[in-house]
Amino acid sequence: MDNKLLEVSGLTMRFGGLLAVNNVALEVNDQEIISVIGPNGAGKTTVFNCLTGFYQPTAGQVIYRGEPVQQLPGHVISRKGMVRTFQHVRLFKEMTVVENLLVAQHRHLNTSFLAGLFKTKSFKKAEAEGIERAANWLDRIGLAEFANRQAGNLAYGQQRRLEIARCMMTQPSLLMLDEPAAGLNPAETDELDELIVELRDQHKISILLIEHDMKLVMGISDRIYVVNQGCPLANGTPKEIQSNPDVIKAYLGEF
């Protein structure tokens, strides 16, 4: 059985004269945690933007479940099951916590105009199920009591968790997290660690992770890709990466 989820080859993104991403290759299998590391400005976020359809890559192929997706618009890619968070949290700040989760379930709810107008049985059932799913996730990330709070008023760590839960409401198979531990305290980082592993083991999804917290990355990653100035530098298991002289020189050496 082929268990390849995502295959990226030759991915290149040029902004005018700047080659932000140069010939990057990636491979994600089912139920894997894959990390992408590299110094600031290495082009990691740009890779995410190319994969999720926010940028049109200059060159390269993105194959998701055997199907090329690099020309598709962002919302179509997301519907196929590749969903991302953002380096700077992008919640719907004025909406409540639970509304944030309901918006993400848009496709799974009853969007028929007449059904909603007359509150038909199927409409109410779909809404109730949506709220139920949201409640389950709020329980899981410890935000149940804040369900009717404005999302923008949550603490930073809570907002980060809510953003992950919001992605999960779309029922993805590949979750892409852009620096999810940035700004978290050590206890929150440990919780995040636990959550990511749980997503892989219990929700059976794969995670593509951009992160600077080396303890987190080395602890949970199945494989790691290192990029430096847009170019792929190395890839392998955490052990291999930690002992790779190029990586140590270019990146880990800073620590």
Binding site: V83, H106, I131
Partner: protein, 422 residues
């Protein structure tokens, strides 16, 4: 009161004097031998002097005044009154709804004919405000050409009625659908634009529709408009003094009453109440449907929406189309009430007034928009004697609103969801 603030005040009042003496102190007079510039009468001079003195002193005491202002402002924001969501206070809302409905139904039987007619106009603006609220307040799409869809609705009924004798109740849904179609077709190319650009393009579209109506003389009557549009009928009963055709039955004949033109006014009013109630109901439901949430999400963050698999184009288009449909309903109603329409009624200032209603009411708040629509139609009527200064008052009101309550008169709190475990 330092020396510098004295100098500032002096400069400001001199500037004021120069500007106003040009604008108010002089007058063009049409003499037999051509235009002459003459001095204006003394009353104007007095006002100019009063104005200059006023400017001098406000500038002089700018610091203490702005301290008072900021005091009010911060207090206003602390205790900023917000309407509770209906889910929070269901009994209060049920009571308010019943009271409002009762008031609306009793009104035509206690108020004067003119007041009832004014109430009908107010209801049309309520409908327009609620419709534009979907586009601007909820979806965050700044539409300055909303009056175009209003015009489409009005002319749809006007034309269908004059050329094909179509009745109001048949034309109403057609007008709504046609306006929605216009909204859809215009929305398609422009909705990729954002903010200011969208505003300018929609402004252009509103004007194009008006100019088209002005120039298609054979169909629309051009600047002369369309007149003698029929009033709505009650299940085929007409409200005229004499029947328009042999088959037609008259309302007062049918019920054995004496003819009174009041019946017509009251009936048009009640029909408007019905339409507004329907509008409030539909939009209230929309808000609690996935599409309503998607509109608001889109207003807040389009990129996040896309990342969650929501198609921004479709969502924007649906807001634009639904908003246009309500303008279409309101337009055909306007045509029915006036009995006469011309492009004059659909100038940009109408768009501006409707937008002002939305902003004044509190973006996204239904009750606020209704209140603002009432204020915006009743105030100008009460301030008839200030006719020339109406726009000035309008502007002043907007400025003060922006200072005191930028969130609108009655902003709404978010609807609360009942969670399984609180």
């Amino acid at each position: 009161m330092s020396k510098s603030s004295f100098i500032d005040a002096l400069i400001a009042s001199v500037v004021m004097l120069i500007l106003t003496s040009w604008l108010l102190g002089l007058q063009l007079d049409n003499q037999p031998d051509g235009l002459r510039i003459i001095l204006n009468d003394a009353a104007h001079t007095t006002w100019v002097i009063v104005g200059v003195v006023l400017v001098f002193f406000t500038q002089l005491f700018k610091a203490p005044i702005s301290r008072v202002f900021s005091g009010i402002k911060s207090k206003g924001q602390d205790s900023g009154f917000k309407l509770p969501a209906p889910e929070e206070k269901p009994t209060l809302y049920r009571f308010l709804t019943i009271a409002a409905l009762a008031g609306l139904l009793i009104w035509p039987f206690v108020a004067s004919r003119g007041a009832v007619d004014l109430a009908t106009l107010t209801l049309i603006y309520v409908m327009l405000g609620l419709g534009l609220n979907v586009v601007v307040g909820l979806a965050g799409l700044l539409d300055l050409g909303y009056v175009g869809f209003y015009a489409v609705g009005a002319y749809t009924y006007g034309i269908l009625n004059t050329y094909f004798g179509v009745g109001f109740w048949t034309a109403l849904p057609i007008a709504g659908c046609l306006a929605a179609l216009f909204g859809f077709l215009l929305g398609f190319p422009v909705l990729r634009l954002r903010g200011d650009y969208l505003a300018i393009v929609t402004l252009g579209f509103g004007e194009i529709i008006r100019i088209m109506l002005n120039n298609m003389t054979e169909v629309t009557g051009g600047p002369n408009g369309i007149s003698q549009i029929d009033k709505p009928t009650l299940f085929g009963l007409e409200f005229n003094r004499r029947a328009s055709s042999d088959e037609a039955t008259l309302f007062h004949d049918f019920f054995g009453l004496d003819y009174s033109s009041n019946y017509k006014v009251i009936f048009v009013y009640l029909a408007a109440v019905l339409l507004v109630v329907l509008t409030v109901f539909v939009i209230n439901r929309l808000l609690r449907m996935p599409i309503g949430r998607a509109w608001e999400a889109l207003r807040e963050d389009e990129i996040a929406c896309r990342s969650l698999g929501l198609n921004p184009t479709i969502i924007k288009l649906s807001a634009f189309t639904i908003g246009a449909a309500f303008a279409g309903f309101a337009g055909s109603f306007f045509a029915a009430r006036q009995g006469f329409i011309s492009p004059e009624s659909f100038t940009f200032i109408e768009s501006a007034i409707i937008l002002a209603i939305v902003v004044l009411g509190g973006m996204g708040s239904q009750v606020g928009v209704i209140l603002a629509a009432i204020i915006m139609t009743i105030l100008p009527e009460m301030a008839r004697e200030f006719n020339e200064y109406r726009m000035l008052m309008f502007g002043l009101m907007m400025v003060f609103m922006m200072i005191w309550r930028p969130q609108g008169l009655l902003p709404m709190t978010r609807p609360k969801m009942e969670m399984r475990n609180g």
